[in-house]
């Protein structure tokens, strides 16, 4: 028996675009019956374990697996010698599947084991003897850029600089009345999805392998797997298992190749499940950033220029560092009209943990810096910080620092007005409930030393893959009569990671085909690529593909109708209808035994690469905006912060599923709150000090305040249904809004997030 058989999801029978039907997988998830990648099981299955480097930088001088192989219950111990093609990477292949002669970060995989019990596998891994010659790690990104720094990837041109993204816009030496400068840092944030990296690889009779996996992009995994395993595409089949959150951390491979190698080697199914500690080493993190900014403005508060240097620590391997750097640079001046911009973004190799995609993808770091600068500028001008932002707010028609004109609504000023207009929560008087004070039931204050502060932030995020990437999705839609009713089946390879894409695909099918019953087929590589569930892009791109496929199916049905003598122009309510919505026939009768199936590959309008010298170009397909107001209480004596309320306003173009939109805004805001006041992977000399939920804190229900949310729907004429990507913008602006609120409460400059107690009391 295996638990890998995948069934289609049967959706509710109502709910089109703009409604909020319940999730088709919701009941299974609440019952504990939804099969996540760590829940899978097969007869005779083995467990995999990974031996990782304890050192951030070392030469591997010897590797002895003899003792590991002797342990009863061990079926295989594999090293780099067993990997057909050992180099992989999402954008730039620069990473070994298993280390060869050098390890470049703490936690780098060195060997893998399969055994009949997970504990046996771990003990066997412990018996592998590795002879390391420890080297001095390069841990400072700025130092790594200097010509005298040790070169970590000799094959890479440009020393340790993965990418330099320059933006040159307007005059070179503009002059301003008022100038403010600042240096800002952002700590390393972890995606901290709850479902650990895991999957089950099942060897197949044809010599291939079936991998059941939690990922964000099945086809990117497949592409890297076929290369590493040196096997043709039809022999490496991927099936999406239940995904317990992603947030960018599942874009790169983790245990995929390892599980397949072990399964192919042992001819048995192999399951690998990371524990929480291993998970901290098993995926990339948000790039820590060092950002130097200079803003110049007229005395009236018009921005004259922005100059910035943004250094992103990419860690040991490239992952998506180049794209993250491009985002930070192109969006680095914020959602403002700035006539002169000079930005240099750098993504850098070090021996720190590899960094790559996390919700917000380079735009988060820049937003903290430019919004902190806007507050500083407002103070220098003696202006209200929201007024200053509104005065300079981007709008439709604004030219971005890349020369790209914003060609759809950009209601930045309106979003700021909305959050500002929300009534402020009352400042409580009299005895206070401990649970509502900083420090909570730790009973650190009854209100003494507690000061309230209010702060604002607004951000800009690109939607979809940028800079000329061929960004597309594929949808197969099938319409037929089953048991006397018309039924639509939707098949894509898109990863449902929690966001609700399964619900949305059914809503689109229902709207486009006027049919109630919709089945969502399991996502796998038996249909073309859907691209990644990242960059806030799936509603846009896979949504666009599903709609396009539905349109072709509809055209096919209308041809059938015409052949049967009906001059039908549309489908509605299970009928074929005329241009005046007159019912002409039942869809069931028109279809008869026919199956209408269409597969469509759908692309958004193309973007263009940036000019490598000036950073000019039509780089982004769509921009998205959100604004936050944060209200905080700070215990200024102990440095403890409690966020009292968050107000958010976001333009989503079209709320395809209003409840899901709120869920994205609430969840995204929470991750921004985490970055503002608690979340940081502490890396000392390349070594992670807090790889656990005991020491890496994410917001609990006590940390997350009530939110008020305004959703604007200003249609983007270029996007399907006018929609705008939703997932990332709220993660951008909550962080600077909270930091600004803490500054307002304390009067401190606070140039670093997360803000820690010692930044408040030790300052």
């Amino acid at each position: 028996m295996t638990t890998t058989t995948q069934q289609p999801l049967i959706t509710n029978v109502t709910g089109g675009v703009g409604d909020s039907p319940m999730r088709p997988d919701g009941a299974q998830k609440t019952r504990g019956e939804f099969a996540y990648s760590s829940d899978l099981w097969a007869d005779d299955m083995l467990w995999g374990a990974t031996l990782r480097s304890p050192h951030p930088y070392a030469r591997v001088k010897g590797l002895d697996i003899t003792e590991a192989l002797k342990l009863p219950g061990v079926h295989a111990v594999l090293t780099h010698e067993d990997v057909p093609d050992n180099i992989y990477g999402l954008e730039h292949p620069d990473q070994p599947v298993l280390a060869v002669d050098i390890v470049r970060y703490q936690g780098e995989p060195v060997a893998i084991v399969a055994a009949d019990h997970p504990e046996t596998a771990r003990r066997a891994a412990d018996r592998i003897v590795v002879d390391y010659e420890v080297l001095t790690p390069v841990t400072d990104a700025e130092a790594a850029m200097r010509p005298d720094a040790p070169v970590l990837h000799p094959a890479h041109e440009g020393g340790n600089i993965v990418r330099h993204a320059p933006i040159r816009f307007g005059e070179e030496n503009p002059v301003a009345d008022v100038v403010v400068t600042g240096e800002y840092t952002v700590g390393m944030q972890d995606q901290a999805f709850l479902g650990p990296e895991s999957g089950l690889a099942v060897p197949a009779e044809d010599g291939g392998v079936d991998l059941y996996i939690a990922t964000q992009w099945l086809h990117a995994d497949q592409r890297q797997l076929t290369k590493a395993l040196a096997m043709p595409e039809d022999k490496v089949r991927l099936h999406l298992a239940g995904v317990g959150g992603a947030f960018g951390a599942r874009e790169d491979l983790s245990m995929q190749v390892h599980a397949c190698l072990l399964a192919l080697h042992t001819r048995k199914p192999v399951k690998i499940v990371y524990g929480r500690e291993e998970s901290f080493f098993g995926h990339v993190h948000r790039h820590p950033a060092l950002m130097r900014y200079e803003h110049g403005a007229t005395r009236d508060g018009d921005l004259v220029y922005v100059k910035a240097e943004i250094i992103l620590d990419g860690g040991a391997y490239a992952s998506t560092t180049a794209a993250v750097t491009g985002n930070a640079a192109t969006l680095g001046a914020g959602p403002y009209r700035v006539p002169n911009v000079r930005i240099d973004g750098y993504g850098v190799y070090t021996n720190n943990p590899p960094c790559g995609a996390m919700r917000g993808f380079g735009a988060v770091q820049a937003c903290f810096a430019y919004e902190s600068q806007m507050d500083k500028l407002a103070a220098a001008l003696d202006m209200d910080p929201v007024d200053l932002r509104i005065r300079n707010a981007a709008e439709r028609g604004t030219v971005m620092p890349t020369g790209q004109v914003i060609d759809s609504p950009a209601p930045v000023a309106e979003l700021l007005e909305l959050v500002r207009a929300k009534p402020l929560p009352a400042i409580p008087t009299g005895p206070r409930d401990l649970r509502e004070l900083p420090g909570g039931v730790s009973n650190t204050t009854h209100g003494e030393g507690v000061v309230r502060g209010v702060g604002y932030g607004v951000g800009i995020k690109n939607v979809g893959f940028s800079e000329g990437f061929d960004d597309y999705s594929t949808a197969r839609v099938r319409l037929e009569v089953i048991a006397g009713e018309p039924v639509v089946s939707v098949h894509t390879a898109a990863a449902e990671v929690g966001q609700g894409l399964v619900t949305l695909k059914a809503q689109i099918a229902r709207t486009e085909l006027g049919v109630q019953r919709v089945q969502i087929q399991p996502s796998n590589t038996f249909v073309g690529s859907a691209g990644s569930s990242s960059a806030s892009r799936q509603s846009y791109v896979t949504g666009g593909a599903v709609r396009a496929a539905c349109e072709e199916v509809r055209a096919g049905v209308l041809e059938l109708a015409a052949a049967r003598g009906f001059a039908a122009t549309g489908l509605a309510g299970g009928k074929v209808v005329s241009a005046t919505n007159e019912v002409l026939a039942d869809l069931v009768d028109v279809l008869g035994d026919e199956v209408v199936e269409r597969t469509v590959e759908w692309r958004h309008r193309p973007t263009a690469p940036l000019d490598p010298v000036t950073g000019q170009g039509f780089a982004h397909v769509q921009y998205a905006f959100a604004a936050h107001r944060a209200v905080v209480d700070v215990d200024v004596e102990l440095g403890l912060v409690r966020v009292v309320e968050l107000a958010c306003a976001q333009d989503v173009g079209r709320a395809m599923n209003p409840d899901a939109v709120l869920g994205q805004i609430q969840g995204g805001s929470a991750q921004g709150l985490g970055l503002a006041v608690m979340e940081e992977i502490q890396v000392v000399d390349g070594v992670v000090r807090n790889p656990s939920f005991t020491d890496y804190l994410i917001p609990t229900v006590l940390d997350m305040p009530p939110m008020t949310i305004d959703v604007l729907e200003r249609a983007d004429p270029h996007a399907p249904y006018g929609l705008r990507g939703v997932g990332e913008p709220p993660t951008l602006s909550s962080t600077p809004a909270i930091a600004a609120a803490i500054r307002a409460a304390t009067g401190l400059a606070l140039s670093r997030v997360p803000v820690r107690p010692e930044h408040i009391v030790g300052a």
Binding site: R31, G32, F34, Y36, A192, F247
Partner: protein, 158 residues
Amino acid sequence: MRVNVEVNGEQRTADDVWPGESLLYVLRERLGLPGAKNACEQGECGSCTVYLDGTPVCACLVAAGQVEGRSVRTVEGLGSAEELDPVQDAFVRTGAVQCGFCTPGLVVAAHDLVHRKPDASDAEIREALAGNLCRCTGYEKILDAVRMAAVAVKEQRS
């Protein structure tokens, strides 16, 4: 070793259990009940919450041997095949489920709360669920779900 335990009203036996295995491992890997989740296995996230003799516990922190002769109720034991428990139903209806990895643990914790204290204030709900991490929802809709479930439980009682 052998472990005998009542799970969701049924007597179950697990053989060849290693002394180091947790209740969570036995449920998930030996008894075919993967509902309780494994988000941290460090007692920090609550995703593995089950009832042990009627009290919610983190199954990852309970050694398998400790449950000998005792009674466990997991998320699979709430509601019935035909009908969701009101707490489960409220989680689906309010949109409190995104990836859902936190959901089984939260459902058990919320089930305990709304039966113990159907009149819980928001502050009390937050306190009761403070041991359950969710990374997707920002908790707002989870609070909605608990409030809705509490109403349903009160209606059931009256």
